[in-house]
């Protein structure tokens, strides 16, 4: 589903954030992306979401070669990727419902379908009763769950998360990770960058570990 082949990423300041990276994530797999701060985790996810482009090497996602994708096709490509961020990236002047509906509105879905799917997604993250609220009226964990609902509402085959539990307490973090597991169980490929090693070592998923922009090791974890 996601395949990196000898990928380099050099930012304009000549700093090499990723060097010679090769790895593969299978369709329907769930994996964690770990490594020290500045190791290149966010950079790697940005390459998958086409927020950044690789300086060298090949990135294949869902059978599409991202190095060759022309800019005008990027929006359509991004609709296949659900993105979750540490700082949620919600629109603060729109209700929870409208925030979650955004990807469907963009895709031009009709009114009835939007209502049905948004409620299904909000139900999944346990926020059905907050659909009329503005994001500021929610707690950090609730906002994160709105962000997750928005990421999955149009049923993308790939879900990426960059430190989704960064600001949450351990119990909330566990809930959020459990949510990701549920999406994985229905076939979504899930890739999560995180610092929360204590949490993920209790979970049976592969880790992709970065060290100074290089692949450190890949380990299978089981409890």
């Amino acid at each position: 589903m996601i395949k990196f082949t000898d990928v380099y990423k050099r930012y304009t300041n000549q700093y090499e954030a990723l060097s010679g990276l090769s790895f593969e994530l299978m369709d329907g797999e769930m994996a964690f992306l770990t490594g020290h701060s500045g190791a290149g985790k966010s950079t790697l996810l940005k390459l998958i979401a086409l927020i950044e482009r690789a300086s060298h090497g090949q990135v294949l996602v869902n059978n599409q070669n991202l190095t060759r994708l022309p800019p005008r096709k990027i929006p359509y490509y991004r609709r296949q990727i659900g993105l979750v961020f540490q700082d949620h990236n919600l629109l603060h002047d729109r209700t929870v419902f409208d925030n979650v509906a955004l990807p469907l509105v963009i895709a031009g879905e009709n009114h009835r379908e939007i209502g049905r799917r948004v409620r299904a997604a909000l139900d999944k993250v346990g926020l059905l009763n907050k659909e009329r609220n503005l994001p500021i009226a929610l707690s950090g964990g609730e906002q994160q769950r709105v962000g997750i609902a928005r990421a999955v509402v149009n049923r993308p085959p790939v879900l990426l998360a960059d430190e989704p539990t960064g600001n949450l307490d351990p119990d909330l973090s566990r809930d959020i990770m459990h949510l990701f597991e549920q999406f994985n169980q229905v076939g979504v490929t899930v890739f999560i960058a995180t610092h929360d090693l204590d949490l993920i070592k209790t979970m049976p998923y592969r880790q992709v570990i970065l060290h100074k922009g290089r692949l450190s090791q890949q380990t299978e974890h089981s409890i």
């Binding site: 927020i51 929006p75 990236n89 955004l102 990807p103 963009i106 895709a107 031009g108």
Partner: protein, 309 residues
């Protein structure tokens, strides 16, 4: 199915249209100021245009007063002159002819000048007899009337034919100059409307940078992101055009009184032509075009710069 998609498409546009109107409505003061700037910029050339149109109308009313004076040769006697006058009256392009004998001319000049004693000393009457011809108001184009004047001057009894229309031509050329000036002014002010709307949209884009980033992240195309800004420009332009129309009505209302008074002093039937109907369509339409164009320019320049990081 296609029908349904099309209905969906129209519905989405309608939603964006109302959504942007709502946004404008929620910042009434800033929006009102923008409307006023656009309104005044459009009303200025429009008012001048309406005034010029009125001047033009007046000048066509005065076309009938154009006349040609035929100064007859000294040796033409009264009888011959009368005969000429009757002949001329039969010409199809002439509506009216009047004759003034040389002695009548002298009498009139005596009255006007008060130079009795000086005139008495002259051995003969130096003034010619005059036949005054009024051409048909329908043939008043410069070349037609020029042709008439030269034909009259070629008559054997006529010394000189003079068209007393120079002041009218002068008025017309002033009017023409005025129209050109207004076109230039209109163009410049339209440009300023374009810039005002462009700048307003630019600020709106900067204000919504984070929102634009989020929309791009979840797969929003440039078309989708552009749409609300284009509609914002549409509303600013159209509503600004309405403000221009109202400003025009008020301006015309204010100068209507004094103009009527002036007209009555000159015994004229003149009243202001409002053009209010066509302006009610023209101003908002022009505003709309400028608004969408200004928004388009601003969006084109600033949207691509905002990419998710």
């Amino acid at each position: 199915m296609i029908n349904l998609n099309f209905k969906n498409y129209l519905l989405r546009h309608l939603q964006v249209m109302l959504f942007t109107l709502g946004r404008i409505w929620r910042q009434p003061l800033a929006s009102l100021m923008t409307f006023m700037v656009i309104g005044i910029a459009l009303a200025l050339p429009a008012s001048l245009y309406v005034l010029l149109k009125n001047i033009e109308q007046v000048s066509t009313q005065w076309d009938d007063v154009a006349q040609i004076s035929l100064f007859l040769k000294q040796d033409i006697n009264d009888q011959k002159a009368q005969k000429l006058a009757t002949e001329l009256k039969a010409w199809p392009e002439i509506t009216n002819v009047s004759y003034q004998s040389a002695s009548k001319s002298l009498e009139e000049f005596r009255k006007l000048s008060g130079l009795d004693s000086l005139l008495d000393t002259l051995p003969t009457n130096p003034l010619p007899a005059v036949v005054i011809v009024q051409p048909d108001g329908k043939n008043l184009q410069a070349d037609v009337i020029g042709d008439l004047v030269s034909r009259l001057e070629a008559l054997p009894d006529v010394e000189l034919a003079q068209l007393d229309m120079e002041w009218l031509q002068r008025l017309r050329s002033i009017n023409e100059t005025g129209q050109r000036g207004i076109s230039i002014l209109g163009l410049l002010l339209s440009l300023s409307v374009l810039l005002v709307i462009g700048n307003t949209i630019r600020l709106a884009i900067l204000n919504q940078q984070s929102e634009i980033r989020v929309i791009k992240l979840v797969g929003g195309t440039n078309t989708f992101i552009r749409r609300p800004f284009l509609y914002t420009g549409f509303w600013y332009g159209t509503l600004g055009g309405f403000v221009a129309w109202i400003t025009l009505l008020i301006t015309m209302g204010l100068i209507n009184g004094p103009i009527n008074e002036l007209a009555s002093q000159y015994n004229s039937q003149f009243t202001l032509t409002w053009l209010s109907g066509s302006m009610m369509l023209f101003l908002p339409f022009t505003g709309m075009l400028l608004g969408v164009m200004g928004a388009w320019l601003a969006v084109g320049r600033h949207l691509s710069a905002i990419e998710p990081t």
